[in-house]
């Protein structure tokens, strides 16, 4: 897994080249060629950075404003009063604390849905990478074909099916469709192909270990970076899901955060509805903070997993 170390290695110099395979002269040459940092390039790339970070900065600043402050003050600077903590309190207090309920719903959907999806993708990807079995080509064709099927093409029939089964307006309607991630399966498959050497599996089999014992005892640890990557992408997909809960759920008690925020925002546009823009903005900030924290904390793992599973010619 040479790629793992490359990603984790932040030091300048010959990132890619294992030192043993080249003479010292080559390494020195490469360091001088690749280590020369460019202020111009940094500034130009920095323009894109400003673009990507500006809305997040806007969100953080405006979460500190009251409803009046939002309308009165300049969007990229603070208002006179700093109301962030009042806003957070108000967000959780509004409407009998429904925001906390939405947060718990989202956590439920993420743990059951994204967790289950990662488990199924890991088992399936491993099975495809390490076993030959009747129907394997059909599995490949069907799953890869399904990646191209627009998710929303399935929405109406899925809704009607779940409606007939009496599952709409229950958490199951959100959790069950989340359990399948063809992209996760694909990522896990390419990752498992490289990450688990066939020789180790053969050795375990010679020693008489069963396939599941081998999987849990030997393969699973080797698959960890891939699992973290797939899990993180599934978590993002589930945490941020909008379309599926939108069609499946009518009862606000089962909303995830995304649908709840939209409902709060929409409230202002309806006649007689109370405008709670400060709560929409603070709630938005509270919605994205956990995910951004997860990405920052786990970046070593998921970036190496992504690199190893990336497209190779």
């Amino acid at each position: 897994m040479a790629t793992t170390t490359h990603i984790a290695d932040r030091t300048p110099g010959p990132k890619r080249a294992p030192a043993s395979s080249h003479g010292p002269l080559v390494i020195r040459r490469r360091r001088s060629a690749r280590g020369r940092r460019s202020a111009t390039l940094t500034v130009l790339t920095g323009l894109v950075l400003v673009y990507t970070l500006l809305p997040l900065v806007w969100l953080a600043i405006n979460a500190t404003k009251t409803q009046e402050g939002l309308l009165d003050s300049f969007g990229l600077w603070f208002a006179d009063d700093f109301a962030l903590f009042d806003n957070i309190g108000a967000t959780f207090a509004y409407n009998d604390g429904i925001f906390a309920r939405w947060l718990l719903n989202t956590l439920l959907y993420v743990i059951a849905g994204a967790g289950g999806a990662t488990m199924l993708a890991t088992l399936g990807g491993y099975g495809l990478a390490k076993f030959d079995f009747p129907g394997k080509k059909a599995v490949f064709a069907v799953v890869i074909g399904a990646v191209a099927v627009p998710g929303t093409a399935l929405a109406v029939p899925t809704f009607l099916m779940f409606s007939n089964l009496g599952l709409t307006d229950t958490p199951w309607a959100v959790i069950i469709p989340t359990l399948v991630s063809p992209f996760g399966l694909y990522l896990m498959w390419t990752f498992a192909t490289d990450a688990v050497p066939r020789e180790i599996l053969e050795a375990a089999r010679v020693d008489g270990a069963g396939e599941f014992r081998t999987f849990f005892g030997i393969s699973l640890p080797l698959l960890a970076p891939g699992i973290v990557t797939v899990l993180l992408f599934n978590v993002v997909g589930t945490w941020n899901n909008y379309f599926l809960p939108l069609i499946m759920l009518k009862d606000p008690d089962w909303y995830p955060l995304t649908i709840g925020l939209k409902a709060w925002n929409q409230q202002a546009a309806t006649t007689g509805g109370e405008a709670v823009f400060n709560l929409v903005i603070t709630g938005s900030l509270l919605t994205i903070v956990p995910l951004i924290a997860a990405f920052l904390l786990l970046q070593r793992y998921w970036q190496s997993g992504l690199a190893a599973g990336s497209v190779k010619e």
Binding site: F133, L154, K262
Partner: protein, 305 residues
């Protein structure tokens, strides 16, 4: 991918039986496929079934064969929505992917100060839900109380209204670009990471400059990843729903019920109760998406040879 293990086993001189062609693989793949059948295959089948019927005000549901499909093909609202996402696709996807490519090359070059910071910061918007992204940009777009209004007031400008009918598609394009440029950068960057470094060394020894290395070594190495990113972007564009549907809550007149094919299918079934016709619209759109994704894949891969 399937062949990797095969050639490996052959190289080691093992008999083919060591591939263990047995049913045991199904114990691993089975659970995924079971849920997959329920969540993907059954709805596709049901969708096709639905598309062959029509619910009438009088007389209940009747089998109509291909009538719904003929109706979609002559439906001006459908073609209007299709044309809109096609324009979106042709403009937004190249802009986003070109930006992502430049970013990936810049970050991979090792010439930036604070490379790791750039890499993760540019990616962060991907973690932001489409709902939040659209709400944020929606607030910022405002010409009265939003950031655009602030800037107009502070600098005495009169910037055009991003939430006007003329600019709404571009404004949505900006939101989508913002959301996914970092994600695509990461796909391309990851592909650059696995390029064999000896290729760069060989090119340098041959006297190639950095631009030449980018053009002759890095871009060709990225072709597979670019094709994947393009296909995902095409699928995403044709499925455009979240951003316009949330902007619609800001101003219902700004975004029509048939602004995108998906929004049209959604409106048909959940506001209009026309489930059969809605299923047909979704199938037609799905088939068009798959054909275009397939053609792009074929063209992209053919050039690689």
């Amino acid at each position: 991918m399937v062949s990797v293990g095969h050639t490996h086993a052959q190289a080691l001189g093992r008999p083919p039986t060591s591939k263990r062609r047995s049913w045991i693989g199904w114990q691993f793949v089975g659970p995924f496929m079971a849920v997959f059948a329920l969540i993907f295959l059954a709805p596709i089948g049901y969708s096709i079934y639905l598309s062959l019927f029509r619910t009438q005000l009088i007389g209940g549901t009747a089998f109509v064969g291909a009538d719904n499909y003929l109706k979609v093909l002559q439906d001006p609202q459908f073609w209007s929505s299709f044309g809109r996402v096609a324009i979106f696709l042709v403009v937004q996807v190249p802009v986003m992917l070109f930006l992502a490519l430049l970013l990936a090359l810049a970050i991979d070059s090792g010439r930036l100060y604070g490379t790791a910071f750039f890499r993760i910061s540019v990616f962060l918007p991907y973690a932001v839900p489409a709902v939040v992204a659209t709400l944020m940009w929606g607030f910022m777009y405002g010409t009265q109380f939003g950031l655009v209004g602030n800037i107009n007031e502070a600098f005495g400008l009169s910037l055009p209204d991003p939430l006007s009918p003329d600019l709404i598609l571009a404004s949505i394009g900006n939101i989508v670009t913002w959301e996914f440029v970092g994600y695509n950068m990461l796909i391309l960057y990851s592909a650059l990471r696995v390029v064999n470094p000896s290729l760069y060394e060989a090119a340098e020894i041959d006297g190639a400059g950095q631009l030449r290395i980018i053009w002759s070594v890095k871009i060709p190495a990225l072709r597979g990843a670019l094709v994947i990113a393009t296909i995902f972007s095409i699928i995403g564009s044709f499925q455009l729903f979240n951003e316009p549907s949330i902007l619609k809550t800001l101003d219902p007149n700004l975004v029509t019920t048939y602004f995108t094919p998906n929004l049209y299918a959604y409106s048909l079934s959940f506001s209009g109760q026309q489930f059969n016709y809605s299923a047909t619209v979704a199938i037609v759109m799905g088939v068009i998406t798959m054909i275009i994704a397939y053609v792009v894949q074929l063209r992209g891969m053919r050039k690689a040879v």
